[in-house]
Symmetry: C2
DNA sequence: AATTATTACTAAAACAATTTAGTTTACTCA
DNA sequence: TGAGTAAACTAAATTGTTTTAGTAATAATT
């Protein structure tokens, strides 16, 4: 089905680089040039009351003219702050994560903070190593969405003890006490399941991620609660937990799970899927197996893909305010860094949005 | 069609943080504790020949025991290097970009370099401001995919003059002389167009991005060349350039363009779309307008979405090796930073991969 | 025994900024 | 006139690391 056409074009030209190795202009350079002391220059640039108006103007003009830009290392060394924050996530290559990172970046860069992004690739050891690296690089704070392997949070509490505030986002844990930002996964799952029930479905399967992370467990609970509130008995044969670590495992396990579900009697008439990857992959596999959605089986799932509308059929989703999660988490962290609210930690759960499309329509 | 259910749950607990404000242990701390000089400690840690074996062991043990980690600011200040590189892109929230960033990150973090990602949001002024910020933060090098507004590259050549190497990726320009990494857009477009022709299509429209960037122009050229090589005359009424800066403008302009194409007589029987967003959005809009793909009109386009298989119909794409673009660009930059190849610049064009699915199948 | 090498260390400078603790100078007021 | 004070500046210390230049002490060579 896939026709691969390969070719390499390598063009190269040989040119003199001619780097002139212009060193940055420093405070002392300005001081020397204007025959004043470096401290005066420093104060002039920070608009200190101790400096006269003419001197200030002189310095400012010279600085602007010579494109002076303070050395971040020197300043960081002196102040013990770097004006940078670490962002540690499982993977950057993921639509939902990219949206959250966008929110983080926007909030931080507007406030003069730089972000250093690192990936744990869902590995606990990698996560620990990255925390060490980030600490060494002098971050003022850490935003983290822990790996799914992470059960021991001592690397993070230790960071807190070292004076580096930590904020959890997307994936929360009760094993660390700090600000936390995510969506209300329980309610999102409850709403999705309820929507299926309201559309006349009673035999509802559930496919979730095989992890202890609250993201997954809360969604499972929301599903169960919706069934219970509607007087529908839970059927454990309709509930599947699968390993989503890598794409192949996911596909294989999901395919098996779907087969088991469809072959089981009585078979479910709808599925609520708990993660982005499971939801879209599920649609693909059902399609491949020749099932018609929602005629043979209805589908709704957590997903933030922009392409939900274009899928076949268009996919009903529980949509998360990803950008807002990121920017709120960043806001919480910066307020910790700047010494506010340090004696009371919040857990903020944002509402999800039910986006109803074709895949969950009633059978009629 | 979209039923929005909103709710906010805010739970909060009040807890003592008890940050103990443990300062990092420094070289001097170790020196004082062991009654030796700081320089000895420094040398012991870097395994210098000038230090005796017992002293080395003493220092190393003490350092490990007390979790010594060198202060990156101090080291950076002294060495004039930060072991961090700047990555300046138009937007992080984009599947293709996230994949490239993944490649960059992997290559860099394996070699002890941190990446600082900033977004220009397609704004030239923002790009310039970010370059200044990155320079101020002491980056050792810059990876950049310029904004579509960027025609003046003096902010980048200036950076080179200051001794900071620059590498272009994905979006190239002839206005700066340096290493460049992207795909062979001409060949990718040529192959896609040729594929349509081989499938019996002769009336082939083209929708491209309204920019001077080589990404767009090369793809246009590839399209034209394929037509020419097949003896098909170019029809300018079938060629549309649209503004993709924001989602709404894109949708609006694309919708108009499609209407014009389909209403024109003779009407095209296939479309080759030049960017990810245009390709997927095009499919969505054709679907919405009730056209059947490929029956009414065939479609193939540049796109790196993982969901191409699940789309309705599955979308034939020109796929780019995004991860490889990123990691190769990073490799080129690090080699510049480490003083290799500074007098000969390369442009590396990776091959694209034609992924043929349902949307470009022959009519019968 | 005197000279040279080698080993194993140290003091102090350098990096670029901020900050502490003053020092001038000019001016006010009794 | 002389004390007091505000304004406008500066020298030097500080931050943590690396590096230069140099010092002892021991070992090897003549």
């Amino acid at each position: 089905m896939i026709n691969s056409s390969k070719s390499v074009s390598l063009t190269s030209k040989t040119v003199q680089t001619g780097f002139s190795m212009n060193k940055n202009i420093t405070l002392q350079d300005i001081a020397k040039a204007l025959n004043i002391s470096a401290s005066t220059v420093s104060r002039a640039l920070t608009d200190s009351y101790q400096i006269g108006a003419k001197t200030k103007k002189l310095v400012l003009d010279y600085a602007k003219q010579h494109h002076y830009v303070p050395n971040r290392m020197a300043r960081g060394l002196k102040e013990g702050k770097s004006r940078s924050i670490g962002v540690l996530v499982c993977s950057i290559d993921n639509n939902f994560m990219a949206q959250m990172l966008d929110g983080i970046d926007q909030h931080c860069s507007e406030r003069g903070y730089q972000i250093i992004i690192m990936q744990s690739k869902e590995l606990y050891e990698q996560e620990k190593a990255n925390v060490d690296l980030l600490y060494a690089s002098g971050i003022d704070g850490l935003l983290i969405s822990p790996s799914y392997q992470t059960v021991d949070f001592s690397h993070l509490t230790h960071l807190q003890e070292l004076g580096v505030p930590v904020v959890l986002f997307d994936r929360l844990s009760k094993h660390i006490d700090t600000h936390k930002v995510a969506v209300d996964n329980f309610k999102g799952a409850y709403d999705a399941t309820m929507h299926l029930i309201n559309n006349g479905y009673k035999k509802i399967a559930h496919i979730n991620w095989d992890t202890e992370l609250s993201v997954a467990t809360k969604r499972f609970e929301g599903y169960k609660q919706a069934l219970e509130d509607s007087g529908i008995k839970l059927n454990n044969d309709w509930i599947k937990f699968i390993d989503t670590t890598n794409a192949e495992t996911l596909t294989l396990q999901l395919d098996t799970a779907l087969q088991e579900l469809m072959d089981f009697r009585p078979s479910p008439k709808a599925i609520f899927t708990a993660t982005d990857l499971i939801s879209t992959k599920c649609l693909a596999l059902l399609h491949k197996r020749g099932y018609s959605v929602p005629k043979d089986i209805a589908l709704i799932g957590f997903s933030n893909t922009d392409l939900a509308d274009v899928l076949n059929p268009s996919l009903s989703t529980v949509h998360q305010p990803s950008f807002e999660i990121g920017s709120l988490a960043a806001q919480q962290l910066l307020s910790l860094i700047n010494g506010k609210d340090t004696n009371s930690f919040q857990t903020i759960l944002l509402p999800t949005e039910l986006q109803i499309r074709a895949s969950s329509q009633p059978k009629n």
